[in-house]
């Protein structure tokens, strides 16, 4: 048996120490490449302080640790400060442990674009772990971490969690401080837990959430403990978007329908609902996210930190060459797209319109939640696919069709594993609620977890 986060809360100092040593040891001997340190062949980063180890995505600032966001552009950047979530972890007895790999600057769904190399899916190393938080999902799935933090801008926690068969929760916008999270798209980014099960997700979420004075977009509301209020017996009205489920691969579709049946027989009310064409959410997302990214990433200019092109002939060349060499293809594509949609003459046609779509998506969700507690939908149309699958950028973007509208609306969503497809790859679904109903997601998630009884069969050289 692996040690869960819940179990680790009861460990003695000595046992914790042993646990830390064992993770450290195992991580240096396996090859999923979930940790940046594994790829760099160096010992796992850890803070001196003893605590329950939590793996940290490479885009969250930990004081004195190098943070690269999987990009050459941040080569050598040693953070001088802690993200608020790191301080919150420490306050609650957890300790940052290991840096998890990710798609460059959180742009991607494969964890195949990091400067450090690729992370593989522990269920099948020929398959992607999903992304961008693929490292976090992979280390939790493979038993190389008890739990991890990821970040989700358009599905970057939920999709890798689904592909790797672990639980991933994207909190409501503003519930977890973004201070210290390297920004991709400020109005969509959220940090969240990736864990072995729903209970652990509640524990880790409790540790990191809360109002933060340093983040102006942080919600100043009363936060209650999700863990303490877990109740798997509550029954809900669950909305199903059949049209979305029908777009999935057969095995995945079947598993989702089975889960729906199980929830129904357990006493939940299932209701068919309609939302909107996912295409509008896709276009709105790629305008909003890339526009903000083009501006957010302007600070990566080689002037103060990170990579700088050697011996440029003038300032302009320093900027152009540093950024041309320092950023990968996908990042450059998105920066250019974002720059274009904000340029004068195009702003109204693109950025402004995407904001209108955002309003529409929000109102549509709000309307839907008048008649149901939760929405159940797929996380992605497929299970984990093979590396180097030939996809056009547009096809790649379609991978996110079910996840991004939740970011656009600022809603919470949780990906939960429900089974395996015929290739032995995990299947998953996600629950979505309104901002103030996160507890319902956890409660129903816990219930579903028991009903489907998903068991990971990844066996490593001795489990944690």
């Amino acid at each position: 048996m692996r040690t869960t986060l819940e179990q680790s809360l009861k460990l003695s100092k000595e046992e914790l120490k042993e646990l830390n040593v064992s993770i450290d040891k195992k991580s240096s001997s396996t090859s999923f490449g979930g940790y940046v340190e594994q790829l760099k062949k160096i010992p796992l980063k850890k803070l001196d302080r003893l605590g329950i180890p939590i793996a940290i995505k490479d885009n969250i600032n930990v004081s004195s640790w190098e943070m690269n966001c999987g990009s050459k552009m941040l080569d050598g950047y040693i953070s001088p400060y802690n993200a608020t979530v790191i301080n919150n972890l420490k306050k609650n007895g957890f300790v940052p442990f290991g840096v998890t790999n990710m798609d460059e600057l959180a742009m991607g769904s494969t964890t195949d674009t990091s400067i450090h190399g690729r992370t593989t899916n522990p269920h099948n190393v020929e398959c992607v772990p999903g992304g961008s938080s693929g490292g976090s999902a992979s280390v939790v799935a493979s038993g190389h971490a008890i739990a991890a933090l990821g970040s989700d801008t358009g599905g970057s926690i939920r999709q890798p969690a689904a592909f790797c068969g672990v639980v991933g929760f994207k909190p409501s916008y503003g519930h977890v401080s973004r201070y210290g999270l390297s920004a991709y798209s400020s109005s969509l980014d959220q940090i969240g837990p990736i864990t072995q099960n729903v209970t652990d997700a509640a524990i880790l979420y409790d540790a990191i959430k809360g109002y933060d004075d340093l983040d102006s977009t942080s919600c100043n509301i009363e936060f209650k403990s999700t863990y303490k209020n877990l109740n798997k017996t509550e029954k809900y009205t669950i909305g199903i978007v059949k049209e979305y489920v029908e777009q999935c691969e057969p095995d995945l579709k079947e598993d989702i329908y089975k889960s729906i049946e199980k929830l129904k027989s357990d006493g939940h009310t299932i209701k068919e609902i309609e939302l909107f064409d996912t295409k509008i959410a896709i276009s709105s997302y790629y305008i909003m996210a890339t526009a903000e990214a083009s501006s957010n990433l302007a600070r990566l200019d080689g002037v103060r930190y990170g990579y700088r092109y050697d011996n440029p002939k003038d300032l302009e060349e320093m900027y152009v060459k540093s950024r041309s060499v320092g950023f990968g293809k996908e990042v450059k594509r998105r920066i250019m797209l974002g720059t274009f949609v904000l340029s004068s003459g195009y702003y109204d046609a693109y950025y402004k319109k995407s904001k209108e779509i955002q309003k529409y998506v929000k109102s549509k969700f709000k309307e839907t939640f008048n008649s149901c507690d939760l929405i159940l939908m797929p996380v992605a149309p497929t299970t984990a696919f093979k590396f180097d699958t030939e996809l056009s950028p547009l096809e790649m973007y379609l991978n996110d069709i079910f996840t991004i509208s939740i970011n656009i609306a600022g809603l919470p969503g949780m990906s939960i594993p429900i089974g395996k497809d015929s290739n032995g790859l995990p299947t998953a679904l996600q629950f979505i609620s309104k901002e103030q109903d996160e507890q319902k997601i956890f409660n129903c998630g816990l219930n579903l977890e028991e009903l489907v009884n998903y068991q990971s069969d990844i066996i490593n050289e001795g489990d944690i």
Binding site: S79, Y179, D213, S295, A298
Partner: protein, 476 residues
């Protein structure tokens, strides 16, 4: 015949303790990059947070210029790359500035009142400083993130006198509000000038040229004069279309000419969009209420001085223009000095002497406490005003400051005793019969001579006014 059409954009640094979006101190002359943090260094993940004090100072200006205070104003990002702009954009306000539609009253060329309309005042961050040498550039980010209030006028100025008067007026408003030091030389009050010309009588607006970053009123006047000549010449030579383009020009302080910096075509596309890290500025009610209470503004002061203190308008304006002078003046009044006496002793006697010594009231070794003690001795007729001047000169050359002691030391106590003066006068009349005759023949000037001699014989200690009354009485 042509006339000038000028509009101004002033960047006034606000004197908040900390920067606009982080808690770093705003201070000068420190070790480079000492006052920096993850936010103003533009480190990945750092987020801005609005400094309430800056918002409150902007609102105070709104009260002073009778402008609209916009609730729900927004911050936008103005995107451009430059090494002293750490995040790659300037956080500024475009669509909904915090302050809009105000007005400032100034003097025009004929010294009549003229209203300058203020289009807007918005908050934004200052950049850092670059120093270039030997092919390298050094960046100091101490100033990066310092709050600026950009105050934009309508194109309401017709000549450089008005521009100068406006800038001085705005400086004094900023200083009286205590929202900034408005010091042009230090760069905490920078001015962009938009200039166009038009045939006299025309209401049309023609191509405007922007002259950036002017930091002296004298040079602004010179730049305006140069631009006016250049544009008029182009118009008359039929080269206006090609020579006068919408562009940014820089003023060369050596040649006193303006030179094209960049045309509109190669201007940056700043790609403004609302900063997603910051919410709309919702101003709490109590903050609005607090901002409604501001110190007495220059115009109000002039009004009060002329009405209550019976100063004439020039005197009142003289004492209001400079805030240090005004604080000194108000202190003297508070200590019981009569307005006219305070004005004379402060402006004519003290400042006059300071000017001669090429110094100013701020650096003066004579404090207002000392001047106040001197004035009170004069007003209570303890010493004569001529003795007062002697003491003032003495103060410049000596370090002791106890006026009572100095009066004794210099033996300057005024004689208000009529008997003593009458004795001296009797002697004078006796020994100068011809003067008495002259007076009787109508030469009134003689009185002055008598008083002068009395003053001389008493070492200046006689009360000259009383002496003159006594002379008149005796000679009747």
């Amino acid at each position: 015949m042509f006339e000038l059409v000028i509009g101004l954009e002033v960047h006034a640094q606000l004197n908040t303790k900390t920067k606009l979006f982080c808690s770093c101190l705003t201070s000068y002359g420190s070790v480079p990059n000492k006052h920096t943090c993850p936010v103003c260094l533009g480190l990945p993940g750092a987020l801005p947070k609005v400094n309430k004090a800056a918002v409150s100072k902007a609102l105070k200006l709104a009260t002073a210029i009778d402008a609209t205070k916009n609730n729900n104003s927004i911050f936008e990002r103005k995107n451009y790359f430059y090494p002293d702009s750490p995040v790659g954009y300037q956080i500024s306000q475009l669509e909904r500035p915090i302050v809009e539609f105000g007005e400032i009253k100034i003097k025009d060329k004929e010294n009549s009142d003229k209203i300058i309309r203020i289009n807007r005042a918005h908050l934004e961050v200052d950049a850092g400083k670059s120093t270039h040498f030997n092919g390298y550039s050094l960046i100091d980010l101490n100033r990066a993130g310092t709050p600026l209030l950009e105050i934009v006028t309508e194109p309401d100025f017709s000549n450089s006198t008005e521009v100068g008067n406006y800038l001085k007026k705005l400086q004094s408003i900023v200083r009286y509000l205590d929202i900034g030091n408005a010091n042009m030389e230090e760069g905490s009050f920078r001015c962009d000038v938009n200039i166009s010309i038009r045939p006299l009588g025309s209401k049309e607006l023609f191509t405007r040229v922007e002259i950036k970053n002017m930091n002296s009123i004298k040079f602004i006047e010179k730049a305006i004069a140069y631009e006016f000549d250049r544009q008029v010449e182009a118009w008359e030579d039929n080269t206006y279309e090609t020579q006068v383009r919408q562009e940014t020009r820089l003023f060369n302080t050596d040649t006193l000419q303006t030179k094209s910096m960049r045309s509109k075509e190669d201007a940056n596309d700043y790609r403004y969009f609302p900063d997603p890290d910051l919410l709309e500025i919702t101003i709490p009610r109590n903050m609005i209420e607090e901002s409604n209470v501001i110190p007495e503004m220059p115009d109000k002061k002039v009004e009060r001085y002329t009405n209550e203190y019976k100063l004439n308008k020039e005197e009142a304006e003289r004492i209001v223009q400079d805030i240090t002078l005004n604080t000194s003046f108000e202190y003297l009044i508070e200590q019981g000095a009569k307005p006219k006496t305070a004005l004379t002793w402060l402006v004519v006697e003290l400042v006059g002497r300071l000017n001669k010594r090429h110094t100013n009231i701020k650096d003066s070794s004579i404090t207002m406490e000392t001047l106040s003690a001197l004035i009170s001795n004069i007003e209570s007729k303890n010493i004569s005003s001529s003795s007062g001047k002697v003491i003032l000169d003495y103060l410049f050359d000596n370090e002791d400051r106890d006026i009572e002691v100095i009066i004794k030391k210099l033996n300057l106590k005024q004689i208000n005793n009529d008997d003593l003066i009458i004795d001296i006068l009797n002697d004078l009349i006796k020994s100068n019969p011809d003067m008495v005759n002259e007076y009787k023949a109508g030469k009134k000037k003689v009185i002055g001579s008598f008083v002068g001699q009395i003053m001389k014989k008493t070492n200046g200690q006689a009360n000259p006014q009383r002496a003159s009354e006594l002379v008149l009485e005796k000679l009747k």
